[in-house]
């Protein structure tokens, strides 16, 4: 069974953690606490 089929409890907290990380990164960028990110 693929790994994606893990219980949904993990999937829900995964969403919350992903949103939290993205918001923290956005805040760090906004406060100029991260150097400009290049690609």
């Amino acid at each position: 069974m693929p790994n994606d089929a893990r219980p949904s409890r993990f999937a829900i907290s995964l969403d919350a953690y992903a949103v939290a990380l993205a918001l923290v990164l956005a805040l760090l960028v906004r406060l100029n606490l991260l150097p400009p990110i290049k690609w």
Partner: protein, 364 residues
């Protein structure tokens, strides 16, 4: 008293446990980064070589290289156990990347394209659910497996199947079959969709909308869009996110159907059920989009956020290749795969026709 003396030890144990779990992710994360970066390096190297020698060879995006490298590793030497925990995090990076991508959309664009997507999704869902059920009956699949395949192929892939499985009381085997079929078809779409898009000379917006509506799993939809162009990738993510937001409603409909037949648990509070199935990253995406619309970020900061989103997607695309086990997919039997494949072709053609129509009459 006992509680006060044991709490610090319990907290310390918990802290050490968390530290161990995070440490267990590091090898897999490094593998994702190495495969993704190798894909980016190959794209840049081939581009520079062709440019220096004036060879008119079309640019092959890092997305494809990362997926192909991952596929080769996973299906030849395999993924040693030490890397597996970290490799699974590709879905986490996908969701973080989508939230950050919100910075590249003004809320007006989201509402406009999201509105069109919603309309097209509603039409496509109705027709494809009906078609999948007819197909499932014709191929004599178990009814709950048909329900899972229908949810997975018409709404949004693996997450929809995982959300629907406990709600309709389907067994693990059915979910495993449906997930395998959806993943195999998603992998095929990565190679066929860009070719069809280029053959039909679809605009970035039309192609992105098509990929977002027709490719089932979020990671593959994002990759299929990005393989066409950066702009198409953005639109594909937006259309797919709109589909994801509808998971709760469709799963609720199926749960009510199966519980009315006495084959699944009854649903208590419908609002709580909907909220429990709603993908939270959609809210994060909308929040960042709202902040960008209100001018919360400067232009260089918006560029930084867009690049952070690209780095997150780089890890995702490496994970898409690394977690695809072709032998496992082959073991699942031909019937669910045949139903999935015929259904997917139908949905792909249907959504292509809808997008063509929308592009012509709704001026995407």
């Amino acid at each position: 008293m006992a509680a006060t003396t044991t709490t610090p030890f319990r907290s310390l144990d918990g802290f050490i446990g968390l530290g161990r779990r995070i440490a267990a992710l590091i090898p897999g994360l490094l593998l994702l980064a190495a495969v993704g970066y190798a894909g980016k390096f190959i794209e840049q190297s081939i581009g520079a070589y062709n440019k220096a020698r004036h060879i008119p060879f079309p640019n092959i995006e890092y997305v494809l290289w990362a997926i192909v490298l991952g596929l080769i590793i996973a299906n030849t030497i395999g993924i040693p156990r030490i890397f597996q925990a970290g490799v699974v995090t590709y879905e986490f990076w996908l969701k973080a990347g989508i939230v950050l991508l919100g910075s590249r959309f003004l809320l007006g664009d989201v509402l406009h394209l999201g509105g069109i997507s919603l309309l097209l999704v509603a039409v496509a869902i109705t027709l494809s659910l009906t078609f999948m059920h007819i197909l499932g009956r014709a191929f004599k699949l178990k009814p709950k497996l048909t329900s899972l395949l229908a949810v997975g192929s018409s709404i949004c892939g693996v997450s929809a199947i995982i959300a629907a499985k406990p709600a309709i009381g389907a067994d693990d085997e059915d979910a495993s079959y449906a997930i395998a079929a959806i993943l195999a078809l998603g992998a095929i779409s990565l190679f066929t969709f860009p070719l069809i898009g280029h053959t039909l000379h679809l605009s970035d917006k039309a192609y992105g909308l098509w990929a977002g509506l027709a490719v089932d799993n979020t990671a593959e939809a994002t990759a299929a869009g990005a393989l066409y162009s950066d702009a198409a990738g953005k639109v594909a993510v937006l259309a797919k996110t709109t589909r994801n937001a509808l998971i709760g409603f469709i799963v609720l409909g199926y749960a009510l159907y199966w519980s009315s037949r006495g084959q699944a648990q009854a649903i208590g509070n419908k609002a709580i059920f909907l909220w429990s199935k709603f993908p939270r990253f959609v809210l994060g995406f909308l929040l960042i989009s709202l902040l960008a619309t209100l001018g919360f970020f400067t232009k260089p900061q918006l560029i930084s956020l867009a690049n952070l989103s690209r780095w997150a997607f780089l890890l995702t695309f490496a994970g898409v290749g690394l977690r695809t086990n072709l032998r496992e997919l082959g073991k699942q039997g031909w019937r669910p795969f045949a139903v999935g494949a015929i259904g997917e072709i139908f949905i792909a053609l249907l959504t292509l026709a809808l997008v063509y129509g929308a592009d012509r009459y709704l001026y995407l």
